[in-house]
C-alpha cells in the first residue's frame, strides 16, 4: 500500500515537471506577448517529432536534440510573431481586439502545423526507447528517462527564472509584461521584446516536446491536450509566475496520477473539474494577487 502511494506521488511529480515547463512557455506568450496561443501544443509536438526523427534516422541522442530543437522552435516562434502578430497588433484597434484576433490566428496555426506534421510524419503513433532502464525510489520503480525529464524541466525553469530576474533583457520582459507603453518610454524595444517572448514560449514548448518524446508515445494530434493542460496550470499558478507554474504543474501532475490510478479515463475530466472550481474560488491563481 505504501509503495502504491509512493508510486502515485512520484508519477505525479515526474509528470508535473513537464506540465510546468509547457505552462511557463504559454504563460510567457499570453502574459507578456498577449497571444493566447492555442497552437502551443503544436510546438510541443514539433519538438517531439524533430527529436524522434533525429534519433531514429540519425541516431542523435535526444538530450543533444534539446540543443537542436530549442533554437529551431525558438526561431519559428520569433519569425511568426514578427511576420503575423506584430502586424496584427498594430492593426488591431485595442489590446482586447488584438487578443481576440491573435487567438483566431493561432487556431489557424494549429491546423497548419498539425497538417504539415501529418504530411511529413504520417498520422501514426510513434515512439522510441531511450534511457528506459528502471530506477528504484524506495521501492517505487520508474524508467530513468522520466527522472531525466523532471530534472531538465526543473533546470530549464530555474535558468529562465534567473534570466528574468537578473539580466537586462529579462528585466525588460518583466517591465513589458507590467506596462508595455511605459516600458517603451524607458527604452525597451517593445516589438522586439514581445517577439522574443513568443519565441521563448515556443522554445519551452519545443524543449518540453523533446523531453516528452523520451518517455511517451507521440502523434501529430497530441498537441491540444498539452495546450489545455498548460492553460489549466496557468490558472492554477497565476499568469506570469514561474514558481506558480511549477506549483500548478505539480498539483495537476499529482491529481492526474491519482485519478489515473483509480480510473485512467478520467484524468482530463478531473483537470477540468479543478479548473472550474479554481476559477470560481480563486480566479487569480494560487500565488496570484
Amino acid at each position: 500500500m505504501i509503495v502504491t502511494i509512493l508510486d502515485v506521488v512520484i508519477a505525479g511529480l515526474l509528470m508535473g515537471g513537464i506540465y510546468a515547463l509547457v505552462a511557463v512557455g504559454l504563460s510567457l506568450q499570453y502574459g507578456v506577448a498577449r497571444v493566447l496561443n492555442v497552437a502551443h501544443g503544436e510546438f510541443i509536438m514539433l519538438g517531439a517529432f524533430i527529436t524522434w526523427s533525429l534519433y531514429t534516422m540519425a541516431g542523435i541522442n535526444p538530450l543533444v536534440s534539446l540543443i537542436i530543437c530549442g533554437p529551431t522552435v525558438f526561431i519559428i516562434g520569433f519569425v511568426l510573431y514578427r511576420a503575423v502578430f506584430t502586424r496584427l497588433r498594430t492593426s488591431s484597434a485595442s489590446p482586447a481586439a488584438f487578443e481576440g484576433n491573435s487567438m483566431l490566428a493561432c487556431f489557424g496555426l494549429l491546423f497548419i502545423i498539425q497538417n504539415v506534421a501529418i504530411l511529413i510524419w504520417g498520422a501514426d503513433i510513434k515512439g522510441y526507447t531511450f534511457l528506459a532502464f528502471p530506477v528504484n525510489f524506495w521501492g517505487a520503480v520508474f524508467a530513468a528517462n522520466r527522472l531525466v525529464t523532471l530534472v531538465f524541466a526543473l533546470v530549464i525553469g530555474a535558468v529562465f527564472y534567473l534570466f528574468l530576474a537578473r539580466t537586462r533583457l529579462g528585466k525588460g520582459i518583466r517591465a513589458a509584461a507590467q506596462d508595455p507603453g511605459t516600458a517603451g518610454l524607458v527604452g525597451v524595444n517593445i516589438n522586439q521584446v514581445l517577439a522574443l517572448c513568443f519565441g521563448f514560449g515556443a522554445l519551452m514548448a519545443g524543449l518540453g516536446g523533446t523531453l516528452i518524446s523520451m518517455s511517451y508515445k507521440i502523434q501529430p494530434t497530441m498537441g491540444l491536450e498539452y495546450t489545455i493542460i498548460a492553460l489549466i496550470v496557468i490558472v492554477l499558478g497565476g499568469l506570469g509566475s514561474i514558481p506558480g507554474s511549477f506549483i500548478g504543474g505539480f498539483i495537476l501532475g499529482l491529481v492526474g496520477s491519482i485519478v489515473t490510478y483509480i480510473e485512467p479515463g478520467l484524468a482530463l475530466v478531473a483537470y477540468y473539474v479543478i479548473f472550474i472550481l479554481l476559477l470560481l474560488a480563486r480566479p487569480t491563481g494560487i500565488l496570484g494577487k
Binding site: Q178, D179, G181, T182, A183, G184, L185, G187, I190
Partner: protein
C-alpha cells in the same frame, strides 16, 4: 536643442495638434500650459515617439526624430516622465530605477547613476527593496523622476509631476526640477499648477484646442491679462 516645427498629430481619427511649433534649449525650463483636452499629452507623446505627426518635423540635436520609436528616442537623450507616474508595480524601487537605465548608452553606468539619483532622493535609497505598488504618492513621483534621470537625459519631459501631492512635496519637486536645470538639463514641464510653474519656468507656451496661442517669457506671461483670467483665476 529640441525644435518642433509646424506639426499636425492625430489621436485616432481626431486631429489633436494643429501646426504646433516650439523650441527648448539646454539649461532652461519651458512650461506648457493649457486646459484639459488642449492636446498637451498628445504633444509630449509626439516628441517622445509614442505618436507620430502626419506633417511637420521634430528635431533633436539637429537630427530628425519624428519617425523614430520611443526606445530609439530615449537612446538619443530625451526622457519622458509620464503623467500618473506609471511605475512598474511589481518591481522594487531599485528595479524601477534600473529600468530607467535600460538604454544601451547608459546601462553599463547604472550603478553610478543610481548613486547620483539616491543623492537627489535619499528616501528612495531607504525604500530600495520595497515594491513600487506599496509606496505613497509622493514617493512614487520621486521614483518616476529618478527613473527618468537614470537615462542621463539632456532633455527631460515632465508631465504633471505635482498632481495629487501635498503642497510641501510640490515645493520639493519644483526645487528638484530647478536643480536639474542648473545642471544643464533642458526641462519641458507640463503642469496644472500654473502660477507656481510660471514662477520657476524661463519660458512658456499656452496650448488651446491643439494650437499654440501664446508664447514668451514666463515672467511676462504671468502679467498677461488672458493668463491671469483663464488659468490663475485672478
Amino acid at each position: 536643442m529640441l525644435e518642433v516645427s509646424n506639426i499636425d498629430t492625430f489621436y485616432g481619427k481626431i486631429q489633436a495638434l494643429w501646426g504646433v511649433s516650439l523650441k527648448i534649449d539646454e539649461a532652461e525650463i519651458v512650461a506648457l500650459v493649457g486646459a484639459n483636452g488642449a492636446g498637451k499629452t498628445t504633444l509630449l507623446n509626439t516628441i517622445s515617439g509614442l505618436l507620430h505627426p502626419v506633417s511637420g518635423t521634430v528635431e533633436f540635436l539637429d537630427k530628425r526624430i519624428d519617425g523614430l520609436k520611443s526606445h530609439a528616442i530615449v537612446e538619443l537623450g530625451i526622457s519622458h516622465i509620464p503623467q500618473g507616474r506609471k511605475l512598474f508595480p511589481d518591481m522594487s524601487v531599485r528595479e524601477n530605477l534600473e529600468m530607467g537605465a535600460y538604454a544601451k548608452r547608459v546601462w553599463k553606468h547604472r550603478q553610478e547613476t543610481l548613486d547620483k539619483v539616491y543623492e537627489i532622493f535619499p528616501i528612495l535609497k531607504e525604500r530600495q527593496g520595497q515594491l513600487a505598488r506599496t509606496l505613497s504618492g509622493g514617493e512614487q513621483q520621486m521614483v518616476a523622476m529618478g527613473r527618468g534621470l537614470m537615462s542621463r537625459p539632456r532633455l527631460c519631459i515632465i508631465d504633471e509631476p505635482s498632481s495629487g501631492l501635498a503642497p510641501l512635496l510640490v515645493d520639493e519637486i519644483f526645487r528638484i526640477i530647478q536643480g536639474l536645470r542648473d545642471q544643464g538639463i533642458g526641462i519641458f514641464l507640463i503642469e496644472q499648477n500654473v502660477q507656481q510653474t510660471l514662477e520657476i519656468a524661463d519660458r512658456a507656451y499656452v496650448l488651446e484646442n491643439g494650437r499654440v496661442t501664446l508664447a514668451g517669457e514666463s515672467k511676462k506671461l504671468l502679467q498677461e491679462e488672458l493668463i491671469r483670467k483663464a488659468y490663475l483665476g485672478l
